[in-house]
């Protein structure tokens, strides 16, 4: 195992509000565009390193606001998904993408088995274990976390503008997503769609499967078009909306 992270770079996983009183568990796998120093720039331009291929702009800020408003826990990955995409399993090609949208990622082009394993060991597995351990602990205490993974997507993809503003994504268990879509349909605040702009067939539901389906947690993945949350005003507005939507949806789920 070659070492990837230096001690100065710290823990790849950050846990916010660990003693949260509510059952909300927010995950943000693509929170940061920071690369481990040893990976340099991965051969990418500064433009690419700032873009949505490196992270989900705004997602962490909205997740932090939600964790605070709803007194939930937030677990996020401190390194870029270009180093390791924590919403993909190690056996997936997309875990260390060689191409992302219109960008080649030269530094992911010819990774040795040892380098690949170091990224898994030092970025994915600590995140995986932090989430699993939290869920197991809460379940042992008779609680049932509500899993909400927070993402953002680019308004223009392969040159095409996207009109969807908010995606409510699910895998086999759609119970929470169904409630959210039903409530959202009445309020009509945004262009909200089920499993858009991505869905299970795109391989984006790894965290929902790994932590939601396996542990029997209500679960949903939220995709926000990133132009809506590029500044603090947008982030606060979106967090206010999602706070109400999530609280009502979970209440509807529990009432059933």
């Amino acid at each position: 195992m070659t070492g990837l992270l230096t001690e100065a770079e710290g823990n790849p996983v950050a846990i916010t509000n660990a003693g949260a009183k509510s059952d909300f568990l927010f995950l943000c796998e693509h929170a940061s565009r920071r690369l481990p120093k040893r990976l340099g720039t991965l051969g990418l331009s500064e433009e690419a390193l700032q873009s949505h291929i490196a992270w989900d702009p705004g997602a962490l800020a909205v997740a932090e606001l939600l964790a605070e408003k709803l007194d939930g826990v937030l677990i996020h990955q401190r390194f870029s998904r270009l180093a390791y995409d924590c919403n993909r399993p190690p056996e997936s090609e997309a875990a260390m993408p060689v191409v992302s949208e219109v960008y080649d990622v030269p530094g992911n082009g010819a990774i040795s088995a040892a380098e690949r394993q170091a990224r898994i060991d030092e970025i994915y597995l600590p995140f995986h274990e932090a989430v699993s351990t939290f869920v197991v602990g809460r379940k042992a205490a008779g609680r049932r976390p509500v899993l909400v993974t927070m993402h953002s997507f680019t308004p223009v993809y392969f040159g095409k503008p996207r009109t969807v503003e908010l995606g409510i994504l699910h895998d086999a268990d759609s119970r929470l997503a169904d409630r959210m879509l039903a409530i959202a349909a009445v309020e009509i605040a945004y262009d909200i769609r089920r499993n858009e702009p991505y869905g299970p067939a795109d391989g984006v539901t790894h965290s929902l499967i790994e932590y939601g389906l396996r542990y029997g947690l209500p679960n949903v993945m939220i995709e926000i078009r990133n132009d809506l949350i590029h500044d603090e005003i947008g982030q606060r507005g979106m967090a206010d909306y999602l706070e109400g939507l999530l609280a009502k949806s979970v209440a509807a789920l529990s009432a059933q």
Copy 2:
């Protein structure tokens, strides 16, 4: 969560030789045909409950001999795969099979979400956590376990006899399997084949993926035709053969 196991039924996971000095980690997901009392007979005949659909006859006995001979750890599941098949992820239909070979399994036909989750929580997750925790602990201590999952298969399947005697199965990482097949080809002790009678497309490599590929461990799944290991003489003969094959193959892997 409805409770499934009673206290008297004990821990679903058994760990043998936990302080083993070698790096061998043997898993036996289908070690037992014991059903949790609350599941009754699942509507099956005594014949079906004794058959290969309930367990892998002989696999645990061979695994125990190997763990002793090679000073490895053995982790096995104490309940039948008809209650929960620990070599399948919770989202798989095959985790609680409604049909297994020629047998319907009536008790798995209409399981409520709560019952399904109780089986996942009380049978699969403790096994999953025992294996993960062991691997994480060994890796933290600078060791790298060698994962060997031990299975047996029926000599007659859907009425057809099988001539293959020993299957050496792998998923994306074939390094250990390649060494075993190369060495076995010289010795010609059994009819040994790669990814037979099952392979990755049959969904049988869950444990290899979950514990082998993810943690970067050399890994292999061994399938033994169960008529070869139905008594102690057969089990000892097979364990003697596999002891040599595994030891030589791991040595060849390390020497590379």
